[in-house]
Symmetry: C2
Subunit: 455 residues, 2 copies
């Protein structure tokens, strides 16, 4: 006998129940993207490796899944390279394509490739899987979905405000309590400047980004190791320790960063964004947080991160403003801002809190029991009528024992079970059981359609 | 400057316009799958090569995209195999995973892997891309979507009748005129038996499957080359030349195949299926066609194929009954029947006939022109209100020249343009232009919401 089949580690199958739940999340996010005027694109799973390599750092290059050229994959490998067994050189010659690692680089490639045809500002969303050859572990997969929304070609801060409003709307609809943290990369630059360590901005932001995880003492220790002076560290403390409302924090920053032009520009941007979203109104908590850094080398203005309040799971959405996404593909000067919903983590949050509406957990609305040829034929006609009225319905295909058919209905979580047996066939009626209410009634075809359309 | 980026040959990017059209097709098919009680699953893009290899014939093995093992991909390659440069041996050692080639093998793997947990009959649908290293050409891609629906664990012919009804419903909703051709593999076996060439069934079905393309004379010539006797070919002619209604064809087959037990069983199955779908009612043409073969080695009962009547494009949907899909994974005895909608060809058909409803070609319902800080703030509040009422809306993010903003609205095919300028701001009103009708009116916020909700 063949071995029991399996799937590659770090990948997942999704059962009907899991798909209903995931679709509920994706459909909710998608509907909000549409409400906000974002339009969907899709890009191929495979990109040229020349598009992907060098975009995610040296570590990222190793985590790309590479696709062996079809046909004679050795034909471009020089004999000396083959003899050397140099893995990088061999890969470069044997593989032209790789699986996409995120949606950001393919989007940048897309914008540059079709720049002449795209009307700016271009507001796109994209919901597709990405692949990473990471070591699989709990909550980390080799294939997972990203849900990105970005605007390019507009540097207006209205875009940031709208993105915050969109995040608020998505989590409102999903009924997940979250806090949105907001910062600005220019404030981080300003902080580095005023503590006299502008050249150490990367070290500073990497360190303070960990403040939630490791605490302020360990952050300070890391900064010392990185060569920051005690004076600089002392100057940094009031910034890390800011308390109060967003307005108070903005006022404090304004004061502390008054010697840094860039820093003040960041504070003003932050103020505009916070006042803008407050003016529009929002349901979830929005916090100014100067320890927020997220991929510093990438963002140039606003930085956004979302955390679930009721589940310990890290960031479930993040994003920000970037001023040179497309530069690497030869089209500099396009500013963009975007966010990425972490679909798999949001899925984990909803599962833990069981936040799915009831409708997510059932399949069809009604199943007709199969009592044999004539009864099944009458049932099939009724099923067809219901479907024409938009009611999902099915006929059990086999005239199996009642118990087996009921067990199927039960396992599928089907609310209504309809019976056309001998007597119903004679009378032209349907016996309908409501499995939730535990009731049953005998209905005419017309009454059945009305009842199920409104149930 | 960097080279203009591109994507791998045979793959495609989909623009917002293309995505709207594709989503219209996928959403229509998906809604029908749900109406009929099929439930969605997803499987990973990457499968173990041990799952995929040997399932699609020798040619298929070559067309699988294989993924280079991450890390030291040479570690399992023996020195002698490395020295030999044997491509197949090297591939086997360097690659453990491949991209899925269709949705059928992953489904079979899924059914076997979770057999203990699945309630039979299991009605699943799956809409995901597949990858084939085919030579790219017009209408043939290296990445394309398949939309499959299958039932396993029931051999009732009600499943076939329902699938025919489902096809009829899908193309009815898409407004594509089609003919569904139906045959039964057992009839083909019967034909081979009664013409005394049971051992040549593969050659016979391969040849007669081409009758539409090459004509009857060439089919006969091919059969001669394959070693069929003149007597057998003569006996075959009335079968290939059957005329009349489905009922007449079935009667003729009954008579012609009366010496073949298998053949008669096929005729009875075909009769049940045709009578069943006629009893339910259908809109599209359904034709009994004994020349229909489709992947003979795979199907064991009913065979189904759909052709568009108004576009020359070949088969746009196909499927049938298979009795041993899961046997190759060590779980024999599960009968299944399914169909696969050819999404990319259906997309081509709808494009050629321009069958999309108007709603498919527009993005948001209304855009607010941006006249600067105060006006934009009032517009943003109005936009938020509209979204809360389910109306998709956007604010142009920059206070750009009117002409530029209107050109954006126009390029996005947005029907309504709303203006809150100085005077509207003062009066608390909105000026709304209907770009389709060429009219404009001044509305209160409440009236605007009502108008756009119902537009």
């Amino acid at each position: 006998m063949a071995q029991k089949p399996s799937i590659p580690k770090g990948t997942r199958d999704f059962s009907p129940e899991e798909m209903s739940r995931r679709n509920y999340i994706f459909d909710t996010i998608k509907s909000v993207f549409h409400l906000y005027g974002y339009q969907q694109i899709e890009t191929p799973a495979m990109e040229n490796l020349s598009t992907l390599m060098g975009k995610y750092g040296e570590e990222g290059d190793k985590l790309l899944f590479k696709i062996l050229n079809s046909g004679d994959f050795l034909k471009d490998v020089a004999d000396e390279d083959y003899a050397s067994k140099n893995l990088v050189k061999l890969t470069n010659k044997m593989c032209e394509k790789g699986l996409r690692y995120d949606l950001t680089v393919p989007f940048a490639r897309f914008v540059v490739q079709y720049r002449g045809e795209l009307q700016m500002p271009f507001k796109r969303f994209q919901i597709q899987p990405v692949w990473r050859a990471d070591r699989p572990q709990k909550g980390r997969y080799r294939e997972f979905y990203q849900c990105d929304a970005d605007v390019v070609g507009s540097d207006s801060l209205w875009n940031e405000i709208e993105l915050l409003s969109m995040i608020d709307t998505v989590f409102g609809k999903l009924k997940v309590r979250v806090a949105i943290k907001v910062n600005n990369r220019k404030i981080l630059t300003g902080i580095a400047e005023i503590i006299g360590a502008a050249d150490k901005i990367v070290d500073i932001t990497v360190a303070i980004d960990k403040i939630d995880k490791i605490g302020i003492d360990n952050v300070n220790e890391e900064l010392r190791v990185k060569g920051l002076s005690e004076e600089a560290i002392t100057k940094l403390q009031p910034l890390l320790d800011m308390k109060g409302t967003n307005e108070e924090k903005i006022a404090t920053l304004s004061e502390l960063l008054k010697e840094s032009e860039t820093g003040l520009k960041g504070v003003e941007e932050l103020r505009t964004v916070i006042e803008g979203i407050n003016d529009l109104g929002h349901n979830c908590e929005i916090d100014v947080d100067v320890s927020l850094a997220r991929g510093l080398n990438y963002y140039t203005g606003t930085i956004i991160e979302v955390k679930a309040l009721d589940v310990e799971i890290g960031s479930i959405t993040g994003g920000g403003r970037y001023d040179n996404l497309t530069g690497v593909f030869g089209a500099p000067g396009l500013s963009g801002v975007g966010i990425s919903f972490g679909a798999d983590r949001i899925y984990d949050v909803l599962n833990q809190l069981n936040l799915y509406p009831d409708s997510v957990n059932s399949s069809v609305k009604v199943i007709f029991v199969n009592f044999g040829e004539k009864e099944a034929a009458a049932s099939a006609r009724m099923v067809k009528l219901l479907r024409e009225e938009g009611v999902s319905a099915e006929l059990y295909p086999d005239a199996a024992k009642m118990k087996k058919q009921m067990s199927y209905a039960n396992s599928q979580n089907i609310r209504f079970v309809a019976i056309i047996g001998e007597s119903e066939l004679e009378q032209g009626t349907i016996n309908l059981k409501d499995m939730n209410a535990g009731t049953q009634e005998t209905l005419t075809p017309g009454a059945l359609v009305e009842k199920l359309k409104n149930a």
